[in-house]
């Protein structure tokens, strides 16, 4: 039984890795107090999704999807998910930039980076 589970894990290890990374990212987003660590969690979460897409696009033994001498008969890796993830990376960069600039502004206003302290400071006036 245990061996079966382990074999299942190994045969689909790329998806398991994506899921584990995703959960690490979600954990950091929810449980970390420091706002910058939350953004790092967000980035891990997004990277896990990129990995998921890239790994399901892979074809065993496939080559890069560039025109080769053997013509369209060659075995290619599916290029579409890569292009999609390029777009998602752009989105991720934009979100990170906005999030970081918000954190900088929050720090300038309150001089704290910690969520609990932030709630404390907000309650004070």
């Amino acid at each position: 039984m245990i061996e079966d589970l382990f074999a299942l894990f190994l045969s689909r290890y790329n998806y398991w890795m994506a899921i584990i990374l995703m959960l690490i990212g979600l954990y950091a987003l929810i449980a970390k107090q420091n706002l910058v660590k939350k953004i790092i969690g967000l980035n891990i979460f997004q990277t896990a999704i990129f990995l998921f897409y890239i790994s399901f696009a892979d074809v065993t033994g496939g080559t890069a999807p560039i025109y080769l001498p053997e013509g369209p008969g060659a075995l290619y890796v599916n290029p579409l998910p890569h292009v999609l993830m390029l777009t998602a990376i752009v989105v991720g960069v934009s979100i990170t930039a906005v999030a970081l600039s918000l954190v900088v502004r929050i720090y300038q206003e309150y001089k704290v980076m910690d969520e609990d302290e932030l709630l404390e400071v907000m309650r004070r006036p």
Binding site: L29, F45, I49, T87, I95, V98, L102, V103, M122
Partner: protein, 497 residues
Amino acid sequence: MNAVIAQLPVLILVVPIVGALLILLAGKVNRNFSYPVTLATISFQFAASLILLSAVMTGGTIHYYLGGWPPPMGIELVLDAFNSFVLVVILAMALLTAVWARQGAALDIPPEKTVPFFVVFQLLVTGLCGMTITGDIFNLYVFVEITSIAAYVLVASGRGARSLIAGFNYLVLGSIAAGFIVLGIGYLYVATGTLNMGELAAMLPASYGLATVHAAFLFLMIGFSIKVAFFPLHLWLPDAYTESPAVVTILIATATSKVTAYAMIRVIFSVFTPQYITESFPVTEVILIIAAIAIIAGAVLAIAQDNLKRMLAYSSISQMGYIMFAIGIANQIALEGGLLHIMAHAVMKGCLFMVAGMIIYRTGITGIHQMSGLSRTMPLTCAAFALAGASMIGIPPTIGFMSKYYLVLGAVEAGQYLAAAVLLIGSLLAAVYIWRVIEIMYFGDHHEGALHSGPEAPLSMLVPVLILAASCLLLGLFVDIPLEIIGPAVTLLLGGS
């Protein structure tokens, strides 16, 4: 002329993007140039959406292939009865908000920030148009993110430092939602190998039994539920609506939430099918129960608030429940009511948030208990609030009554009498929180004269509010006109011809 109309679906997206950068460059020359460019671009988009709606109503669905590549190779823009109707509604709201913003923006946005503010405002409207007309599900995600990033920035641009925290929380939850949406799209791609919505609808039924498809559906549902602030996932909404600038609250509460609800309905009914949610993976009951809880809980929380904007924000959660309720019933009449409610809620909530902004503009008051006797100094504003409030409660013959009437009819037809009762209870609770404000405005003692010294708000703010208040009444009286568009749209959604 026909050649121009054929290109309008893409021009409605490209012109405002170029316009947004023109705002940026014109703003470098003179700050005052930025507003006219914004108004001109949004007016163009609104005119284009009207032309497209009439073209769709006469000539049927429009398909536009970007780069001349037909799907599945390329991305297509699709305009049918459903989304061209949504497009007209949100662009009308965006136009009125832009008119309101001429003086309303100065309330929260410092003068040196007006240029970037209008650039992001324009990008938000563009993103909403893109979400509405795209026919490719990954493209939908990209436009969701363009819209969301613009919304995060706008929410955080309020004068108070609290708006930064509201913006940050919105960003964190919104990004998790977006992650779930991409995951769902990934599962759909794994199951079918296509991203075009039309092709997905044709290819998915073959694999309805697969766990992959169920996972995709659940991920998409959870992602969109966070984005529309469907009840247990609404935590970002009250702060974002309360702390953001008045203009931004109006735009997000009317246009953004409606387009996100549209995207959700589109995914449920046009990518998946009504058969999927009723037979293959029966979730309508669950959606109905959560929607009922959302209607009641949102209204109860709204009653407990003293800040007018926060009260309206909780009321939005309750009203989004009505739209989800239509999905839960999923028959012709209820969905007609749901789509009608998308328009009705945009009109009346836009009017109410505009009034809240005008009260702050003239008197600086946010608390409801301070508004006693306000009707004596701002009679037109308060009258607009009363009319839109009546529509929110659902007093005939307003548009709010008509949409709820259709929802109740749909629920009764489906045999869901308990659910129909929930709708009526929701209306009663709405009467409690709206009437409380009206009572204080009209019958409260006018004791704090100094606070209410301001006269009516300026004309550029008053005109949009009065237009919206009048349309609450007129759309209800002439409800046949929107229903002529909604009827075919619902038939399309339910898979008829």
